[in-house]
């Protein structure tokens, strides 16, 4: 069931039935045509948002660095070291690191280890939902070059081809101390104004998207009814 109206022929191979253009009846009875690929997926490109005033930006960057809200999304085995990080032994709350459950409210995304393709899709969606300026802290050697899973068919090798990464913390698995050091490094970068991952993502959006589309072939949203 290939839809000929769609421009990108390559994508058509993976088109599911629910992604075809179809007529839908609205609650008030009228019939409208829906193209799920364009209507249900956000086609707006992210915009580059440059800082306006340098002096104020320096102050704001300080505030952003001292208040890192981490998204509580354990993507890999590195997430086993997140509980020690926020408990009495290491207590990252002292340094302004706090956990938030929803991507809208968090600024730091800890990619805790290897990313399976299925998770990568969620990671990209989550990353795009976060509000900029946003930072990515990649944990473990598997995000750097694949690490242990360099020859696995289901885990990516280099995270920086899919989303911009600010700080890598190497090791398998990195100790909580290393994670704290990573947070310190991230703070330095933010205070220097070098942590502009969100802008980089917007600038090189096509490159990132083409890399992502190379491996994530099923872009379907799950079923929702709200």
């Amino acid at each position: 069931m290939i839809n000929e109206n769609n421009n990108s022929e390559n994508l058509n191979k993976f088109l599911h039935k629910e992604n075809e253009i179809r007529n839908v009846e609205t609650p008030d009875g009228s019939i409208i045509q829906v193209d799920p690929l364009n209507d249900y997926f956000c086609t707006d490109r992210p915009e580059v948002k440059e800082p306006k005033n340098k002096v104020i930006e320096k102050f704001l960057n300080w505030a952003r660095a001292e208040s890192l809200w981490v998204l509580g999304f354990g993507t890999g085995c590195g997430s086993i070291e997140i509980p020690p990080l926020v408990t009495p032994r290491f207590d990252a709350y002292r340094f302004g690191v706090q956990m938030r459950p929803t991507p809208r409210q968090s600024n730091v995304f800890i990619i805790s280890g290897y990313l399976a393709v299925k998770t990568l899709k969620r990671v990209i969606r989550t990353y795009e939902q976060m509000q900029g300026p946003k930072y990515v802290l990649a944990l473990g050697s598997c995000t750097i070059n694949g690490g242990m899973y360099w020859d696995s068919y289901n885990t990516i090798n280099r995270l920086d081809h899919y989303i911009p990464v600010d700080v890598y913390v190497a090791g398998c698995m990195p100790r909580p101390e290393a994670l704290l050091a990573g947070f310190n490094k991230l703070k330095e970068r933010i205070k220097d104004g070098r942590a502009e991952g969100a802008n980089e993502y917007a600038e090189k959006f096509d490159w990132y998207k083409s890399n992502q589309k190379k491996i994530v072939k099923d872009w379907n949203m799950p079923d929702y009814n709200w």
């Binding site: 393709v117 694949g146 068919y153 994530v216």
Partner: protein, 172 residues
């Protein structure tokens, strides 16, 4: 252990009986009789605990080996039932009516080995992979290294040392 094996031998045509430990034996059964055998073992011999179902790819012989490991919690013994099915057109009778979790195992086998289990509930749903369009990855003829190098972006500078070569160089 012996009397269970004897009982099975009486009723079913089993071969290749290997006794690995006192409490673990492997038996091989024909494809058509396998479900009947494990039903008998469950209902009459007390093998009520289903341990696992998995497949082994014997690509040289063109066969898949399916292994059902059953456990008798009272006698505390395990019997593994092996059955060989052909690699082409691999299809096996479903055992989901005996234990609830078997459907999950069959879902995984269908996805990872391409073994079909008709009638198993939800067997065609994605279990682990999403949008996979290559041959099922657990088959021996799928080269994971080649796939990974072509698909993901290997970071340059990674050296692969064959440990044997490396040790030879170091010791000489």
């Amino acid at each position: 252990m012996e009397n269970y094996i004897e009982d099975i031998k009486l009723r079913f045509d089993v071969k290749d009986i290997v006794s690995r430990r006192d409490n673990l034996s492997f038996i091989t059964c024909e494809k058509e009789k396998t479900i009947a055998l494990i039903t008998h073992m469950k209902n009459n011999l007390g093998f009520t605990h289903f341990v696992l179902l998995t497949a082994v790819d014997w690509i040289e012989d063109g066969l898949f080996q399916l292994t059902y490991i059953l456990n008798n919690p009272n006698a505390k013994i395990d019997i593994a039932v092996r059955t060989m099915i052909s690699r082409e057109n691999s299809e096996m009778e479903s055992a989901h009516k005996l234990w609830q979790q078997v459907a999950t195992y069959q879902r995984e086998l269908r996805e990872m080995f391409g073994i079909n289990f008709p009638d198993s509930p939800g067997v065609t749903d994605n279990f682990i992979l999403e949008g996979w369009d290559d041959i099922p990855p657990y088959r021996r003829d799928f080269d994971t290294k080649k796939y990974a190098e072509e698909t993901y972006f290997p970071r340059p500078g990674r050296e692969t040392n064959d440990p044997a070569e490396y040790m030879k160089k170091k010791l000489s």
